[in-house]
C-alpha cells in the first residue's frame, strides 16, 4: 500500500462515514474536480513561465526574473492582471457564442486531462476506450476556436478560425492514426493497461522502426493540433494580428491562452503514456517506490514539452497550403504504410521485448 492510495482511501472512508452515500459520492467528485482544476491552473501558469524562460534562453535574454525568486510568481501576477482587466468585445459580435467559445476550449482540455494515469493509482477515471476518448475530446476544442473567430465579427479572427478548422481536422487524422499504430502492439485502448504493457520495454523500443516513425508523425501532428509554431497559422501574429482571439481580453483571452498550454501538456502526456512508458521508471529503477511514478511521468512529459518549445522558437511558420500539403500528401500516406508495417511486425512477432 502506498502513500497516494492510502491518502485517497482515508478521504474516501471519511467522506462516506460522515455523509449519506449519495451526498458523499457527489462530494468526492467535486473534490476530485477541484484537485484537477488546481492541477490545471498550476500546470498552465508554470508552463507559461517555462515557455517564457525557454524562449529567453533561445533568444539570448534572461526572461522574467522580477516577481518572486527566478520569476516564479510572474505568471501569477499576469493572471491577476488578466482577472482584473475589463472584458471588451466588438459591438456587433454574436454575444452568446462570443462568450461561450472560451469555455469550449478550456473544458475540452480539462476533460482530456482526467484520463491520464499520472501513476498507477493517480487517475481520475480509467475508461477502457482511453485513447478514443482523448482523440474525441481534444477535437471539441476546435469548435471553441471556430466559434470565437466567427462570433468576434472581425475578419482577421475569422481567417484565423477558418485556418484552425482546416488545420485541426487534417492533423487529427495523423494524430489518431499514429496512436492506432501503437495500439496494434498493446491490443488495448485503456491507458493504464497500455502503461502496464510497457513493463517489457517502452513501446518506442518494443515497436522499434514503425514506432519511431509513428512518434515523429505524432510529434508533427501534435504540434499542429495545438496550433503552435511552426504550425501557428491560427494566430500568425505577423499575418493576422492575433488570429481567432484578436477580440478577446482579460480572463476570456486567458482561457484561450491557458488552454493552448494545457493542450501542449496533453499532447506531451499522450506521447509519454503511449511511447515512453508513462509513469514507469527506466529499467524499473524506482519500482519499489510507486509514488515516484508521478515524477517520472511529469519529467518525461516536460522533456517532450521542451521539445515542442524548441520547435516554436527555432522554426519559421509554414504557409497554409504547405501545411495541408504536408499532411495530406506526405504524413497521411506514410502513416497508413506505417500501420501496415506495424501490423506485419506484430504478426511476425518481431517486437523487441525484454
Amino acid at each position: 500500500m502506498n502513500l497516494t492510495l492510502s491518502i485517497t482511501n482515508n478521504i474516501h472512508n471519511w467522506l462516506f462515514s460522515i455523509m449519506p452515500e449519495g451526498v458523499a459520492s457527489i462530494a468526492e467528485m467535486v473534490l476530485i474536480a477541484l484537485v484537477y482544476l488546481a492541477i490545471f491552473a498550476v500546470a498552465g501558469l508554470y508552463l507559461v513561465l517555462l515557455e517564457r524562460k525557454v524562449a529567453a534562453w533561445f533568444q539570448l535574454r534572461i526572461g522574467p526574473n522580477r516577481v518572486g525568486y527566478w520569476g516564479l510568481l510572474q505568471t501569477m501576477a499576469d493572471a491577476l492582471k488578466l482577472v482584473s482587466k475589463e472584458l471588451t468585445g466588438t459591438v456587433k459580435a454574436d454575444k452568446f457564442l462570443y462568450n461561450l467559445a472560451p469555455y469550449f476550449v478550456i473544458v475540452s482540455s480539462l476533460m482530456a486531462l482526467s484520463v491520464f494515469p499520472f501513476t498507477r493509482e493517480f487517475q481520475a477515471f480509467d475508461i477502457n476506450i482511453g485513447i478514443f476518448f482523448l482523440i474525441a475530446i481534444s477535437s471539441i476544442g476546435v469548435i471553441g476556436i471556430l466559434l470565437g473567430g466567427w462570433a468576434s465579427n472581425n475578419k482577421f479572427a475569422l481567417i484565423g478560425a477558418m485556418r484552425s478548422g482546416v488545420q485541426t481536422i487534417s492533423y487529427e487524422l495523423s494524430v489518431g492514426l499514429s496512436l492506432l499504430t501503437m495500439v496494434l502492439i498493446t491490443g488495448t485502448l485503456q491507458l493504464s493497461e497500455i502503461v502496464e504493457v510497457q513493463k517489457n520495454g517502452w513501446l518506442i523500443v518494443q515497436g522499434h522502426i514503425p514506432a519511431i516513425i509513428a512518434f515523429m508523425i505524432y510529434m508533427i501532428a501534435g504540434t499542429a493540433e495545438t496550433n503552435r509554431a511552426p504550425f501557428d497559422m491560427v494566430e500568425a501574429e505577423s499575418e493576422l494580428g492575433a488570429g481567432f482571439h484578436t477580440e478577446y481580453s482579460g480572463m476570456k483571452f486567458a482561457y484561450f491562452f491557458l488552454a493552448e498550454f494545457i493542450n501542449m501538456f496533453i499532447i506531451a502526456a499522450i506521447a509519454t503514456t503511449i511511447f515512453f512508458g508513462g509513469w514507469l521508471s527506466p529499467f524499473g529503477i524506482t519500482e519499489s517506490i510507486p509514488w515516484l511514478g508521478v515524477f517520472w511521468f511529469i519529467g518525461k512529459t516536460f522533456v517532450i514539452v521542451f521539445l515542442m518549445m524548441w520547435f516554436r522558437w527555432t522554426f519559421p511558420r509554414l504557409r497554409v497550403d504547405q501545411l495541408l500539403t504536408l499532411e495530406w500528401k506526405y504524413l497521411l500516406p506514410l502513416n497508413l504504410l506505417n500501420i501496415i508495417l506495424m501490423a506485419l511486425i506484430v504478426w511476425l512477432n518481431l517486437t523487441i521485448q525484454f
Binding site: A55, Q59, P230, S238, P316, R317
Partner: protein, 373 residues
Amino acid sequence: MDTSIANSNLKSEEYFINMGPQHPATHGVLRLLLTIDGEIIKKVEPDLGYIHRSIEKMCERDSYQQIVHLTDRMDYLSSHINNEAVCLTVENALQLEIPDRVKVIRTIIGELTRIASHTLWWGVMGMDVGALTTYFYGFRDRELINDIFEETCGARLTMNYNIPGGLMFDIHPNFVKRVKDFIAHFKTKLPEYDTLLSGNVIFQKRTKGVGILTKEDAISFGASGPVGRGSGYSCDVRKHHPYSALDKVSFKEILRTEGDTFARYQVRVDEMWESMSIIEQLIDNIPEGEYKVATNAVIKLPKGEFYQKVETARGELGVYVVSTGTKNPYRVKFRSPGFSNLSLLNHITVGGKIGDLVATMATLDIVVPDIDR
C-alpha cells in the same frame, strides 16, 4: 477545376480587409487595403500618409545645415547615409574640396549603417515568416554598431554626424579598435544567420518562387537597392556613381537573377559581407588631416538645380535641390527608395497567399517614414 463545384450554387466572394495602419507586419503605420478571395490576394493598395511630416516643405523653411537633421527622420535606419546625401549635394554645389579623412570616415560609417540596417531587417524578416528568435540575434549584432555610433556621434539612431563641409566632430579614439572588434565578431556571427534561417527548409519553401519580380519590371517600376539587384538589375549607386571614398575600394555588386523573395533575402545577407570587406579596406588607412573644412555660417547655394544620389540600405536616395541663391532652398525633393519599391507590392503579390504577402513585404524592407516623409 472540378466541374461539379463550378456548376453548383456554391460561390466564393471576394472580401476587403484592412491591414494596418496598426499591424505587426507593416512595420510602422502603413495601411494596406487588401482584396482577398479566401486566402488568395486579388489586390493590394497601399494607403500612405499616416506619418507624413512635410519634411520636403520644412526644408524650404530651413537653412542648409538644418536640412541635414531633418533627413535623419526619413529612413531612420540609414540616417547617416541620408545625411551624407544632403551634405554631398551642398558640397558639390559650393564646389568644396573635402578632406580625404572625411570621405573615408563617412564611407566607413555609411557601411556600418548598412550592416546595422540589414541586421535589423534580417531579424524582422525572420519574425515576419514566424521565427521570432531571429529578431534577437539581429539586434545582438546591431547593438554593437549602435554602441560604436554612440561613442563617436553621441546618438544611436538619428546621428547627425555629417555637416556640410565635413563631420560634426572627429572620431572617438576608440573608434578604429571597436570597429575592428566588431568586424571580427560579426564574421563569426554572420554564418549563424545562414544556419538559423537561410538554410531552413521551411524558410526556403516560404520564400523561393514567391513574389517574383522580373528585371524588366524592376526597371520600369524604378526598383533600386537589394530589390532591384535581386532581379538582376545592376543598380548599385556605389558602383556606378561612386561618392566619398567608394571609388578607392574594391567590392562586388551582389546580383541575383531569380527575382524572388529568397533572392532579395540572399542579396542583403551577401551585402553584409561586402560591407565588411569595404570597412576592412578602409579602417587601417584613415588619412590624417582635418575632419571638416570651414564653411560660412550662413550657407548660400549658387542659383541653380543640384542633384545627388547615394545608395542607402534600401536603395537609391536622390536629393534634388533648387536654389535661388538665398540661404534657404527654393524646393527640395527626395527620391526615396522605399516609395518606388513599395509601388511594386501589388504587382508581385497578387495571386499569392496572405503569408506570401507578408514574406514579400519583408524583403522589400519598407521603412514607412521613408515612404511618407
